[in-house]
């Protein structure tokens, strides 16, 4: 619990749940990728809470849900890689998520206003 009486970490964890899935599906909507490639693309977005230890179970869950599919590909430079791509259901999902996200962000921006997050006195 922070000094302002809010469990900010718990609140961030709630925000991360859907965002991580949306981020991975969005990256895969651009091109087929494998685990480390996804992690590299997500570097700088640590707030999403995706790490080496969470990306693969997340990919597994998306596969179980039918949003993505996987195939193994031999690599000339190292071990074989497991590449992931969106299924038709995943393409539909990422499109719906994008629309919902834009609507959600616009509404929240309108409510919170542009000054939220600014330091006091800044």
């Amino acid at each position: 619990m922070g000094e302002d009486g809010i469990d900010i970490e718990g609140w961030k964890a709630q925000l991360r749940k859907g965002a991580a899935e949306f981020a991975v599906l969005s990256l895969l909507s651009r091109k087929e990728m494998y685990g480390i490639e996804l992690l590299d693309a997500l570097s700088g977005a640590e707030g999403l809470g995706i790490s080496d230890g969470t990306i693969y179970p997340l990919l597994k869950r998306l596969q179980t849900d039918g949003r993505i599919q996987a195939r193994w590909e031999p690599s000339v430079t190292g071990p074989p890689r497991k590449y992931y791509s969106l299924t038709q259901s995943g393409q539909n999902a990422v499109r719906s998520m994008g629309l919902a996200w834009n609507e959600f962000r616009d509404q929240l921006d309108r409510l919170a206003g542009p000054d939220h997050g600014a330091r006091p006195g800044a």
Partner: protein, 185 residues
């Protein structure tokens, strides 16, 4: 090329922790983790790789949760089915309204011209029709309807009107429900 002993031990531990998973799933997870480790090993020490992956028990538990799927998201197929049903209900409602209008018109005509409007049988052709008789062929027509025509037509007009209204309302609610279900809460 083999992995470092510490990484191999991690894989053995992970394999053991994944005992509840199917053989194919287990093998696939181990191969993917091995591939991840081998690629990371080009730039990282084994201890850092293990630190980033977290304990094998936690990774296995996360895979266990993942194989059960996620909380259902907006199910697009169900949403489409709902919209299709709502469209059919809307068309049915409009059709019933058309029936109600025709029957109401018959009622009004029966009130205005009770002698001419009825259910007629043309003795010459054998045709039966509902509506206003042509006075020129009046002699060939037999009136099949009794005093029940007006109340029956009025009742059916009312029934069709109310049923049509209910179906259109149901369709409108289904459309609205489909839209709100597609919006994450």
């Amino acid at each position: 090329m083999g992995l470092d002993p510490a990484l191999e031990r991690y894989l053995t531990d992970l394999d053991r922790q994944l005992a509840a998973a199917g053989v194919a799933d287990r093998s696939d997870i181990i191969e993917e983790t091995r591939s991840h480790m081998a690629e990371r090993r080009e730039r990282m020490a084994p201890q850092e790789i293990l630190l980033r992956l977290g304990p094998a028990s936690a990774l296995a538990a996360a895979y266990g949760d993942a194989s059960q799927g996620s909380v259902p998201q907006p199910v697009l197929r169900d949403e489409r089915a709902m919209q299709w049903s709502a469209s059919v209900a809307m068309m049915g409602g409009v059709l019933l309204w058309v029936c109600a209008i025709v029957l109401a018109t018959l009622c009004i005509a029966e009130i205005m011209e009770p002698q001419l409007v009825s259910v007629w049988l043309n003795a010459q052709t054998g045709n039966v029709f509902v509506g206003a008789a042509n006075p020129d062929v009046f002699a060939q027509l037999s009136d099949l309807a009794g005093p029940w025509l007006l109340p029956s037509a009025a009742f059916l007009a009312g029934l069709a009107g109310v049923s049509g209204w209910a179906m259109v309302r149901l369709a409108a609610l289904s459309f609205a429900g489909g839209r709100s279900a597609a919006t994450p809460h």
